[in-house]
């Protein structure tokens, strides 16, 4: 027979997991350090491209080693179009973030 303290602990753990799942679905799961990296990459993109161009390009962030080839992001790419802007491919997205760390 489980006493009420154990039941309370299980109940709290259940609420915690449910809250975590909700937070993940809301896309707010990154810890401060990870979010900071994303923000820095966004700021760098704004500096290099300007805010208007960044908006046109959508928000795309890829954090990881490109040389290792283990952190890749392909958006609207096809071999026939040189990798970008195929007329047969249309992509609209709010933001696309790829983090490998």
């Amino acid at each position: 027979m489980i006493d009420w303290k154990k039941k309370a602990a299980i109940f709290i753990a259940g609420i915690g997991l449910a809250t975590s799942a909700w937070a993940l679905n809301e896309g707010s799961h990154l810890n401060p350090r990870g979010q900071s990296k994303v923000n820095r990459a966004l700021a760098k993109g704004y500096l290099q491209s300007g805010a208007e161009d960044m908006q046109k390009q959508q928000t795309q962030v890829n954090i990881g080693s490109k040389r290792a080839g283990t952190c890749t992001m392909n958006v609207g790419a096809s071999p026939g179009s040189g990798g970008n802007d195929s007329k047969e491919i249309i992509v609209t997205a709010k933001e696309i973030i790829n983090v490998c760390k």
Binding site: T70, I89, A93, I97, N98, V99
Partner: protein
């Protein structure tokens, strides 16, 4: 009352975590020429070693004729934690189809996370994995693909033909 409460909590915990292969499939059909798949929010979690957490909505493999996929999905969350695990989300994916292919995919926020050594986090939306004639239209909310640990692979393919950086 206490027994029912305990059961409800246990059920909630069981739905949040699985210790083996965790996979959700919406409209996964092999060989069919047309798929119309619509699903709501899905969350898949795999914990342990060498497990896979997969979300699949509107996936076709190996179809010689024309292929049409219309996939609509709510928020998709896929998580794998442990050694050698894979977290993979596929929404509107066609491979080895050969003929004309058309994919329309509309998805809410997507989150794919793999944490641990030699893990893979992969997000595919509106992907044609061959060089067939294809038209792809993708509308998606926020896409977050996160992988952490030594020897990991993180890959996002959205609206792509014939390319797959993860292979």
């Amino acid at each position: 009352m206490n027994k029912s409460l305990g059961f409800a909590v246990a059920l909630g915990l069981a739905s949040c975590a699985s210790l083996s292969l965790a996979q959700v499939q919406g409209g996964v059909v092999r060989g069919n020429t047309e798929i119309d798949a619509a699903v709501g929010a899905q969350t898949v979690v795999a914990i342990g070693a060498n497990n896979q957490a997969k979300n699949r909505v509107g996936v076709v493999q190996g179809n010689a004729g024309s292929t049409s996929i219309n996939a609509v999905a709510g928020a998709q969350t896929t998580i794998a934690a442990g050694v050698g695990n894979k977290a993979q989300s596929n929404i509107g994916v066609a491979s080895n189809t050969g003929g004309n292919t058309q994919i329309n995919a509309a998805v809410g926020n997507m989150t794919t996370i793999a944490a641990g050594v030699h893990n893979t986090a992969k997000t595919n939306i509106g992907v044609v994995k061959d060089r067939s004639n294809a038209k792809v239209t993708v509308g998606v909310g926020s896409v977050t693909n996160v992988v952490g640990g030594a020897g990991q692979k993180g890959c996002i393919n959205i609206g792509t033909k014939g390319t797959d950086g993860c292979n």
